[in-house]
């Protein structure tokens, strides 16, 4: 019997905070910019310089932790993580070890119809490193002739969020990463732009036979630059591990790089002893003590979180599946929904539109576009009063996004407005009934399906613009 393998995935996320100044010094936090111009004794690791923690960064990590349902430690401590690397100026990173700011949280992640609660082990505060540019031979690290160092990024506040190994598929891992990214963006604490490196994901992947408890050998994957590459990398790594195990080989504990072009991970020659970080409490920084009232004030300042939003939406009558999707949707989409509902659009209908057609349509567009709540409200109004069929309305929405015009104008231009004027339809129905006496006879003798034929004729006679529901209703009355 063949073994069925279960992937076990944990994700480590590094979020660069978008504070004004760096974590431990007053240098400006910038992205890009002239190399080595945002540096000072502290972030360059000059002899004698000392760190002082940025108060806003400390508030923001608590915000992140609270949004992830974490416990905020009453007492937390910075540690030095010791390792030599040319872009790490002090050759230790100020980070946290056994007393992180936040612990034991969770994030609900939905894939398809299934929602699973993914545990957050910890979120801790640390500082970013500088950047290395490997020169010569196309910038490949192993054949470079020299390395250039830029320390502008050195000391930028970084929050590391470590999930528990609760993820079970590459798709789920991607959903977790996207939801986490959206959450951080919504909190306003980071640009959270994956392509700019302001949010970075590493994955720990292992596999085990389904039904077993023990964890397999874990491999860390780095260098995933988009959500798509994260999903591909994890899927590819799972396949690699399964193939190894099925071939009777072992998985080696190591760090592997995702190679987007090759569509595979490759081994990074791991440096010896790289894991003996000799953590000890950073003597240049004082312990962090978070008072309950301070934490509660920060909690009170949080925006509505996806979980709360979902239950509010369900309370408004939005179907559970739609509520989940909308609760996690991008902020622009949600704003359109809230505005439309505020103008009087039925929440269930508005939610269906936003989570369904609008989301799909915006993703298909090449250039970003959005309809505002008022435009959506008018579109919904036209479908509710029968002037637009649901299929026509979808067409109108796409054109609204493309042109930026209102529903009415688009529907008129595309000639999609339905006849929903009863008297006009009454006339058309009479005309059809008068010319189809035989069919009327058959219907009256019990042949129900003839109704559809008659509806079709009325639709045809109105050039397809009649509201089929209304035609149906009038025919039944008249034949009744």
């Amino acid at each position: 019997m063949t073994t069925v393998w279960e992937p076990v995935i944990g994700i480590e996320v590094h979020v660069e905070l978008s504070t004004q100044s760096k974590m431990f010094c007053g240098c400006e936090v910038t992205f890009g910019g002239e190399a080595n111009t945002k540096v000072c004794p502290t972030c360059l690791g000059l002899p004698g310089a000392l760190p002082v923690a940025n108060s806003v960064a400390m508030d923001w990590i608590v915000r992140i932790g609270l949004a992830l349902q974490c416990q905020v430690s009453e007492r937390s401590v910075f540690h030095r993580k010791n390792y030599f690397y040319a872009d790490l100026p002090k050759n230790y990173q100020v980070s946290q070890f056994d007393l992180p700011v936040c612990r034991n949280g969770w994030l609900d992640v939905t894939v398809g119809d299934e929602t699973r609660r993914i545990g957050i082990e910890r979120a801790h505060m640390e500082e970013d490193t500088g950047k290395s540019l490997h020169q010569g031979n196309g910038g490949r690290i192993h054949t470079a002739t020299s390395t250039l160092l830029d320390f502008n990024r050195s000391g930028v506040p970084l929050v590391e969020i470590v999930s528990r190994p609760d993820l079970r598929s590459a798709t789920e891992a991607r959903a977790y990463a996207q939801d986490l990214r959206n959450l951080v963006a919504e909190l306003g604490v980071s640009d959270a732009r994956m392509e700019a490196g302001s949010i970075r994901f590493d994955a720990n992947v292992s596999v085990r036979p389904v039904g077993t408890e023990a964890l397999g050998t874990k491999v860390e994957i780095k260098n995933m630059n988009s959500f798509r590459s994260l999903e591909r990398a994890i899927a590819s790594e799972i396949d690699r591990q399964v193939a190894l195990l099925e071939g009777g080989q072992k998985v080696r504990q190591e760090t592997r790089h995702w190679d987007e072009g090759a569509g595979a991970t490759h081994s990074m020659r791991s440096k010896e002893e790289s894991s003996d970080y000799r953590y000890f409490a950073e003597p240049d920084l004082l312990p962090l003590v978070f008072a309950a009232d301070q934490v509660e004030a920060l909690r009170a300042g949080l925006p509505e979180l996806p979980a709360e939003r979902r239950s509010r939406l369900e309370g408004l009558g939005v179907a559970p599946h739609t509520a989940r999707a909308l609760a996690q949707a991008e902020p622009e989409l949600r704003r359109t929904f809230e505005e439309a509902v505020a103008l009087g659009a039925p929440p269930a209908a508005a939610a269906n539109w936003v989570a369904g057609e609008l989301t799909a349509a915006t993703r298909r567009l090449e250039t970003p576009a959005m309809v505002d709540g008022r435009s959506l409200f008018r579109l919904i109004e036209m479908t509710e009063d029968g002037r637009l069929s649901s299929s026509a309305a979808k067409e109108v929405l796409v054109e609204m996004l493309r042109s930026g015009d209102e529903a009415e104008a688009v529907a008129t231009r595309l000639d999609l407005i339905q006849i929903s004027d009863t008297s006009a339809l009454e006339a058309a129905v009479s005309e059809v009934l008068d010319s189809q006496l035989e069919a009327v006879e058959r219907y009256r003798s019990g042949e129900q399906k003839v109704l559809g034929f008659l509806v079709g004729l009325v639709m045809k006679s109105t050039g397809g613009k009649a509201d089929p529901k209304l035609v149906n209703q009038i025919l039944r009355q008249r034949l009744g």
Binding site: G45, L46, P47, P51, K90, N91, L149, F280, P283, D284
Partner: protein
Amino acid sequence: MADLTIEAAGSALAKGELSATELLESVLTRASLTEADLHSFLTIDHEGAMAAATGSDERLRRGEPRGLLEGIPLAVKDNFCTRHLETTCGSQILAGYLPPYDATAVARLRDAGAVLVGKTNCDEFAMGSSTENSAFGPTRNPWNPERVPGGSSGGSAAAVAVGSVLGAFGSDTGGSIRQPAALCGVVGFKPTYGLISRYGLVAFASSLDQIGPFARTVADAVTLFEAVAGYDPLDATSYQGLVPNVRPTLGEGVSGLRVGIVRELGGEGYDAEVAAATSAMVDKLADEGAKVSEVSLPSFEVALSVYYLIAPAECSANLARFDGVRYGLRVPGETVEEMMARTRAEGFGPEVTRRILLGTYALSAGYYDAFYGKAQKVRSLLIAEMATVFEQADVLVSPTSPTTAFELGAKTQDPLAMYLSDVCTIPANLAGTPAISVPIGLDSGGLPIGFQVMAPALGEKVMFQTAAAVEALADFDARPAMAVSP
């Protein structure tokens, strides 16, 4: 003039009886006569000092407000960052290094009108007890050039002892101010941890390092302390509260004060003459009305062990930044890893290398709990013991060093023996408490003996009060022969 106290020079300067430039010239002359024998300076900044003295005279002439140290020639240890002035920490790895900024203490001295004469010699990265670990050659004891001045701030102590400056600053991690002060016959003070900003002091062991002054009198030490003490937003460990106001009680004597003699700081390994001078001083204090009793702090027996785990551990991280990448020495290598390893192997001297290895080991996987982690707990135990003892005693007294100045080379081959010369001073660093060394006499070989007064955290007031009484009772006014003006 080089033999004036800061107090006397300050008043002569204020009255216009003396100019800052004249005073500077006089100390520079003293330095030129003594440096060949002493080597107390690594850098003498003639130009910068002259500019500062001229500026000071100018301010005086225009009647501008005087700084606390207006026109006073001072020196700082070479592990204080000085903007655009070479700062080597006595190490080959920083030879030629010009910091782009001033340490907070240096900036405050400049703001107070002080004239910075130069940078004093020290054990490499302040690691040592004899100043023999300087990569640029040892400093010698002004009382006997065959002897060490103590360390690690030996250059500062020697320079003050001979009058090459009227006062100086050093750093004290395990006794590096008090021990050389004792061996050179000057006053040396280590404040409560957090009272003087460490910003710009090249770190040895961050949780133990404190800046402090050397002076010829207790009152001068107070003035120097006042000029630099106080909260600094650039040092997260600096104390935001008020600096103890010590001056008003300086002359109040010791009558009624409870003085504790530390049982553990005496006995085997202590020079008989040091022990005798110490108990003679204790007797004098008792005669003045102090209530003397013996106290016991058992954890002092292991303080040295605690220190030689914690300090190297912190140093192993603090000195990791010296890697040949951004500043200082670089020894070429094929790869960056090789470059770093060669740079560090060649750039650091043996004592620094030893401590980096020791600290790295004490923190490494599998040994942390038994060594570094355990040492931290014993340190807390020592702090608790001291707090208890300070309920029974206002101050604790002991010799500053078990011996007077030893011969150059006597302990360089035996690290443990060298470490033992800090046995009396280390507890105050571990506890973060203030302590001062006051000279109380010479031994039969003509070498100074220091007397240590320790107080609880932020207890500078009672500490200085006692120190001033000790100073008066000792009436120590001998000067090294080489300090006598020609």
